[in-house]
Amino acid sequence: MPEITGYAFPNDIHVTWSLMIVMYPYITGFVAGAFIVTSLYHLFGREEFRPVARLAMATSFAFLLVAGLPLQLHLGHPERGPLVMITPHFTSAMAGFGILYSSYLVVLALEVWFVWREEIIARARRSRGLKRAFYAVAALGTYDTSPEALEIDHRAIKVLAGIGLPMACMLHGYVGFIFGAIKANPWWSTPLMPVIFLLSAAVSGIALLIVLYQLTAKLGSRPVDQQCLSALSRWLWFFLILTITLELLEIIVMAYEKSESWLIISELLASRLQFSYITVQMIVGGLIPLILLAIVVLMNRYLHERVRSTLSTVAALLCLLQVFSMRWNIVVGGQLLSKSLRGLRSPYEPELFGREGVLMAIVLLIIPFVILFVFDRVLGIWRRGEGGGGAQAGSGPAHAARGASHG
């Protein structure tokens, strides 16, 4: 039995939304964050992101494929899960999930297809037998790689990125809305919630790419494009500043207003969430990467490659921790305080095994990387001869970007 300080409503002592509901926004955050990076390249012509544009898109896709799993694992009746899509009750924020998720999946899958179309065709031409049949089917029967066809591809990619970006933002903003629109819970109920979720999604997405880009470069013995790394660090810094500012603002406004709920929330932060909020989310995951990234951004010219790489990697890993602790503090923290506003329950400890346990959470985090690995094997995330050659596979998105910066 959990221990209670003060008075909690007797049904409020259970943490109904478990670790899986922490994982859900964490994973969706990577989807949105990685997509923002690929959009910076495809849509806004940020040439410096070219080396990670394809990786970012594949990452977004890989995480999207597992985004619904934690929800499904959490349900008391997983077999009825599809009812959310088949018979949605539209006044529910949660009913929007099916529509948003599936339409975003379609847009992202289409965009992936257009970006990798040349690669698919090249592979179909290169391979034999079953493999050839697979790529032929994946190419949807058209082997046209004429400049005109490629031009159409580029335009399609731009349009899809244009549709995909607001959808990715909505998909994640909506996750924040699920919490922000619960008036029963003062720790959740703020219009800032979707914005904070969205910005921290960008933080987690960019941070993941910084780590993933350097790691894959090391594994594949490819050089890390320092300009790209600097740019990623710069944007990470920018989004981290925004995120921390808003997260602090939320608290400061509550404290300054001396709202009815502040008494219990201040106690929550000072006792139950002291470690996960103040230490991890604000100091280790917030302040320290803020300083590290400031060094990378402001002293960029003077940094040796290895220093830059180390600083940005450490900062990115801490940012990943920051975003996870933020999800944890919101989801779990909100359930530690009773709606009686008079009591707190003892900290929640997730089970180790079982459907909603720690091991399952780790598996959920590993699956996207397995998908990424398969994706790389099947379609190839890295262009051959990255930087120079790759006449066929590489020039695609660059065209689109040039189009963007010119038009």
Partner: protein, 274 residues
């Protein structure tokens, strides 16, 4: 049922084309119809899964009972409660409420100038033993709590599949053949009245003993209350004492600032109660 009709219509349309000679459908038409049929079938299957048993939204519980003739309300006079816990025990027995969860509970308040103390050991089920507090308690009282059966309830609003619903006679219920157990309603209820039943893995809550009230009985908690703290009434009956009290007395509701329009009314509530 709409799904079933749609599915049937599509089948009939396919079987009986207009005109004597059955015209072969084009590929486009065929694919279109197949798509309609498939989506109809999915909706139909979803409907039949939900229709397997239990109370149904939009369906009356009993033919002899007309829910258009009733609109229930609940009245709690906090000055009368003695904290015996009979109501909590009766509810548990009547509704098979699992241990550690409560469809109704009783809170004890001890309030002084220097502080306040609230508790509800085991939901008040075993009554209350004396307690020592570090301040002079000038007043103390008991407050029975339960689902407020709100008219504008957030729990129904947030249910992603429509498993939570409000009957025409004003009772908020959960269709546990349809509930997916997501727990969103548990989070959305400001009063802590809902929980996920560990046996059924669905949301559970007070139903005002719907199986009793539709037979003309009172909810179990009202029936056993020795002091008439808990009263149950029908707002559609002009001579109903509960309706009269709500109409003429100064009644209060829980957390009025949330605008959920509770149908559980309180007499003589203290400002400390939330």
């Amino acid at each position: 049922m709409a799904g079933r009709n749609d599915a049937l219509r599509v089948i009939q349309d396919c079987q009986a084309p207009a005109g004597g000679e059955p015209a072969a459908p084009t590929r486009r038409e065929f694919l279109g119809d197949a798509l309609k049929l498939a989506s109809g079938a999915v909706v139909f299957l979803a409907g039949s899964a939900g229709a397997a048993g239990g109370a149904q939204p939009g369906k009356q519980p009993d033919e002899a009972y007309n829910w258009d003739d009733h609109l229930y309300a609940y009245l709690i006079d906090t000055t009368k409660c003695i904290g015996c816990g009979s109501c909590v025990r009766a509810c548990k027995v009547e509704n098979g409420v699992p241990d550690g969860f409560y469809r109704t509970w009783v809170e004890r308040y001890l309030i002084g100038m220097e502080g306040s103390y609230v508790d509800s050991p085991n939901g008040g089920m075993d009554g209350f033993t004396p307690v020592q507090v570090g301040f002079v308690a000038n007043k103390s009282f008991f407050v029975p709590k339960m689902c407020n059966h709100c008219k504008a309830t957030p729990c129904i609003q947030v249910c992603p599949v429509g498993a939570s619903y409000r009957t025409k006679d004003g009772v908020v219920m959960v269709d546990d053949t349809r509930c997916i157990g997501c727990g969103y309603c548990v989070q959305a209820c400001p009063y802590g009245s809902r929980f996920i039943n560990p046996a059924t893995h669905t949301a559970s809550k007070c139903t005002w003993c719907y199986h009793r009230i539709t037979k003309g009985l009172k909810p179990a908690c009202v029936t056993v209350c020795p002091t008439a703290t808990r009263q149950f009434g029908d707002m559609k009956r002009e001579d109903d004492p509960v309706r009269k009290a709500i109409e003429h007395e100064r009644v209060e509701i829980m957390q009025p600032h949330l605008l959920t329009e509770p149908q559980c009314y309180y007499l003589h509530l203290d400002k400390e109660v939330r």
